[in-house]
């Protein structure tokens, strides 16, 4: 099948890509949203003093 990739998704914070598969008629057979990012906030906040966490987590999204 023909695959169209939109990479990156633009005009947003963060990363995303979309894969669209077209059948022989040119109709959309399926589309997939993928997130190509891993930063690990869920893990690296562990062990930090609790009063520091509100200074770390805003860096998830700066918008």
């Amino acid at each position: 099948m023909k695959k169209i990739e939109i990479d990156p998704i633009s005009r947003l914070e963060g990363h995303g890509k979309i894969a669209i598969f077209l059948d022989d008629n040119g109709d959309v057979a399926n589309a997939y949203l993928q997130i190509p990012e891993l930063r690990g906030f869920e893990q690296f906040c562990v062990g930090r003093p609790v009063e520091e966490v509100p200074r770390i987590t805003p860096r998830i999204c700066g918008v």
């Binding site: 099948m1 695959k3 939109i6 990479d7 990156p8 633009s10 005009r11 947003l12 914070e13 963060g14 990363h15 894969a19 598969f21 057979a29 399926n30 997939y32 993928q34 997130i35 190509p36 990012e37 891993l38 930063r39 690990g40 869920e42 893990q43 690296f44 562990v46 062990g47 930090r48 003093p49 009063e51 520091e52 200074r55 770390i56 805003p58 860096r59 998830i60 999204c61 700066g62 918008v63």
Partner: protein
């Protein structure tokens, strides 16, 4: 009519705050628009990788790269930006020294993924599904970048010309950088476009000649004197080892500095510098007493390398870690 410059903005493992910092220059953005064409900025406009790839090498006058280098796609982007840009700027703390995402270097990527996809209380993933770099679906194949074994700062991957520090960078330094480009008077390669002293020099609080700390305190558990230096009151502040230019914004807001502008000049390892600065203000008669006071810090590496873990000279070591150590 003089030819316009070409600017490119590449996000990486970032939060978008650096790109908001560009927008925060307010009406000066009009000057930028006069000065330059933006040839790549997917966060703000509809650009794709192929648009940047189509530009001849060196065709971008100044490339601004923000975010840490965390997956192999980020590495590709770093090399791409370096090839396409005459001048490459590491924009923001993540690009300068790894930033907050580089705190992930305390763990292996597998440990991080295990937490994210298996053990975090808010996740429901009974089959243990994980992202894959390639995956077959009925219609064809999907691909994803590979998260690397560690996070990197930009200059650990490609040659960098300038740094605009901060988390986020401040409009006045973004403007200073734009003006330097406009005037053609660029500072020496490798310059960090910010102040040249330490945050203490801009800090409005009073400092006495000698600091003598006999106990460390957590800022939310004590009433601190708003006129007096935080460190003197036993509250960890990274000001002494941090480059200034931010007008001590965090301290003015009642919080301690956490070092987001990176180290002052001539510092090879910011964490080591901070450890030294903090240890030097402790007053104790015996080694045991000194150990006891310093032992009050539960997370020294997290304080000393908050924004710059990727640049520690120790490198990323995965030695024996016992349960409970982070």
């Amino acid at each position: 009519m003089p030819e316009k410059f070409k600017f490119a903005f590449m996000p990486s493992a970032s939060c978008g705050g650096c790109e908001i910092a560009i927008v925060d220059i307010d009406e000066v953005i009009l000057k930028v628009a006069e000065l330059a064409d933006i040839v790549y900025w997917p966060t703000a406009l509809d650009f794709k990788d192929k648009d940047l790839e189509a530009i001849p090498d060196g065709g971008v006058t100044v490339g601004f790269f923000n975010g840490a280098v965390r997956n192999d796609h980020d590495v590709h982007h770093a090399h791409l930006m370096r090839r396409k840009s005459q001048v490459l700027v590491a924009f923001g703390a993540c690009a300068q020294m790894g930033g907050i995402p580089s705190l992930g270097n305390f763990w292996t990527t597998e440990e991080i993924a295990h937490r994210m996809y298996d053990t975090v209380p808010s996740v429901v993933n009974p089959d243990g599904t994980r992202p894959q770099t390639t995956f077959e679906v009925p219609e064809g194949e999907l691909t994803l970048p590979r998260a690397m074994e560690r996070a990197y700062a930009l200059d650990q991957v490609v040659d960098v010309d300038y740094y605009i520090p901060g988390c986020p960078p401040q409009p006045k330094w973004v403007i200073a950088a734009v003006e330097a480009v406009a005037s053609g008077e660029l500072p020496p390669k490798g310059t960090v476009i910010a102040g040249t002293k330490a945050v203490c020099d801009e800090c409005p609080r009073e400092r006495s000649e000698e600091k003598q700390v006999t106990a460390f305190k957590r800022i939310h558990l004590v009433e601190n004197d708003p006129e007096k230096c935080l460190l003197e009151q036993g509250i960890i502040c990274c000001g002494p080892a941090t480059r200034d230019g931010c007008e001590a914004a965090c301290i003015v807001a009642g919080q301690a500095c956490r070092g987001c502008f990176g180290p002052t000049d001539n510092v090879n390892d910011m964490g080591a510098k901070l450890a030294s600065a903090i240890a030097s203000i402790v007053v104790a008669d015996t080694q045991a007493e000194a150990d006891r006071i310093l032992g009050q810090l539960d997370d020294p590496a997290g304080y000393f390398y908050r924004f710059g873990l990727a640049k520690s000279l120790l490198g990323v070591q995965r030695g024996e870690r016992k349960e409970g150590d982070e």
